[in-house]
């Protein structure tokens, strides 16, 4: 029943000139589900996430959020309901942490300052950074910046969160703090699509792992099924490479 899906991606395609980056991807998430997307570099994972909220416009296919199709006409309202966490954080450099978490609430949802501040403080506490409220992004470590960007997304009360390799730009010793926040969100029932190569996270928090290659979904299944007895040679080979490096 597609109506019960929080996020329903149907047959999305995207090409850049002669390069077909997404060759018809479908993906559905029920409320509270976490799906982890893995796959080699260049397989189309970022493009898929960016197509979901139309940061990149798909050539064909439909995306439904809580049963409502994303259109040009409703794009900003729809994006406000989808949090996006970028690989390189993209915090607003001229705003301190508190303002980073407040600004979208105020500009997009029209929240008044008091409400936005309260909400921002809640989310900063959730990611363990309430005492950094007045710091600027340049004064934070990468892990702290990424946690602020998660708080920024959460403060909008999103129905789904999209993560594009949230730990890939971090020094290895800083990935843990971000992964823990994501694990906590998954456990609390947040609906999330996470592109990551953090296999510990995938194993522990994913309801389903999706393996992408060359713009296709090659295989998808529970972490158990994927890690222990994947039918696909390609998936096994990829997981071996990840296991060796990660």
């Amino acid at each position: 029943m597609s109506e019960s899906l929080v996020l329903d991606v149907r047959n999305v395609t995207k090409r850049y000139d002669s390069l077909e980056v997404l060759k018809g991807i479908s993906l559905g998430l029920n409320k509270g589900e976490t799906k982890v997307v893995i796959g080699p570099s260049g397989s189309g994972k970022s493009t898929l996430l960016r197509c979901v909220n139309h940061l990149t416009k798909p050539d064909a296919g439909e995306i439904y959020l809580e049963g409502e199709a994303i259109r040009d006409a409703n794009i900003n309202a729809m994006r406000a309901r989808m949090g996006f966490v970028f690989q390189d954080f993209n915090l607003f450099s001229h705003l301190n942490v508190l303002d980073n978490v407040r600004i979208c609430q105020m500009k997009v949802k029209g929240a008044d300052k008091k409400t936005a501040t309260h909400r921002a403080q809640q989310e900063l506490a959730r990611v363990g950074l309430e005492e950094k409220a007045s710091a600027y992004p340049a004064e934070l470590s990468g892990g702290q910046q990424q946690r602020v960007s998660i708080a920024r997304a959460l403060a909008m009360d999103p129905v789904v969160l999209l993560f594009d390799e949230p730990t890939s730009a971090l020094d290895p010793e800083l990935t843990g703090e971000v992964v823990r926040v994501m694990q906590q969100l998954a456990a609390e029932g947040m609906t999330m699509v996470v592109v990551t190569h953090e296999m510990s996270f995938a194993r522990q928090a994913a309801d389903e792992i999706i393996f992408m290659e060359n713009g296709h979904i090659v295989e998808q299944g529970s972490p158990d099924a994927m890690f222990s007895h994947s039918d696909h040679e390609r998936t096994r080979a990829f997981l071996n490479v990840i296991a060796d490096h990660g």
Partner: protein, 222 residues
């Protein structure tokens, strides 16, 4: 030295009558030039080919010709088509149009230096393009451009003196007038230079203060 002082006591009050004219000419032109410069930048960075082309031609034209020629053209040339301005207005227009071209050049560099990912992040949370520009791009671009912009503002303050050539009664015009009356061009232009120096250094220290006041770590490298 005492002669220089007594000359100053006698003629400075008259010379200083030019200060409000010089300052208002400058302030109006630099402000209008600021907004026109932003429009030109917008046309160059976000506009379609037509606007890009128009803005580029404008900038090259005004940077490639002397401001004095532009001012003469506006004040003395345009009346042929029935377009007549008083001297002050003509000077404001000339300095505005000229300064806008330079400001646009500086703005463009600073606008392009704002990390694109931050604008994407703004759009991703539901901001319109206009909101992303106003709330995210401009506050950073303007901070980054401030050192160059201050330089431009001070250059234009000195350039207001050429309005003297079309008859605007500003500091240089008054100095020249007092000079012909006293026949002491040496002393009066020394005084005029001093007055300009006080104005430019006041503006410079105000803008320096503004730079420190708006400083945010990671946005500008001070």
């Amino acid at each position: 030295m005492p002669e220089f002082i007594t000359f100053g006591i006698k003629w400075l009050p008259e010379l200083l009558k030019g200060v409000p004219i010089t300052l208002s000419l400058w302030a109006i032109a630099i402000t209008l030039g600021f907004f026109l410069g932003l429009v030109l930048t917008w046309a160059r960075v976000y506009g379609n080919r037509f606007f890009y082309w128009l803005s580029t031609v404008y900038i090259e034209l005004f940077r490639g010709t002397p401001m004095l020629v532009q001012m003469f053209f506006i004040y003395l040339g345009l009346p042929r088509f029935g377009i007549v301005f008083d001297a002050f207005t003509a000077a404001v227009i000339a300095i505005t149009l000229n300064s806008a071209a330079y400001q646009a050049e500086y703005f463009r560099g600073s606008v392009l230096s704002v990390p694109k990912g931050q604008l994407t992040a703004a759009r991703a949370c539901g901001m319109t393009q206009w909101q992303a520009i106003c709330c995210i791009m401009l506050p950073q671009a303007l901070r980054r451009v401030l050192p160059q912009w201050s330089n431009e503002a001070i250059v234009e303050l000195k350039f207001t003196s050429i309005a003297y050539t079309i008859g605007v009664v500003e500091i240089t015009a008054l100095a020249s007038d007092i000079g012909s009356r006293t026949l002491d061009f040496f002393q009066i232009f020394l005084w005029a230079g001093l007055v300009y120096l006080v104005l430019t250094s006041s503006v410079a220290s105000f803008l320096g203060w503004l730079e420190r006041k708006t400083y945010v770590p990671g946005v500008t490298n001070v």
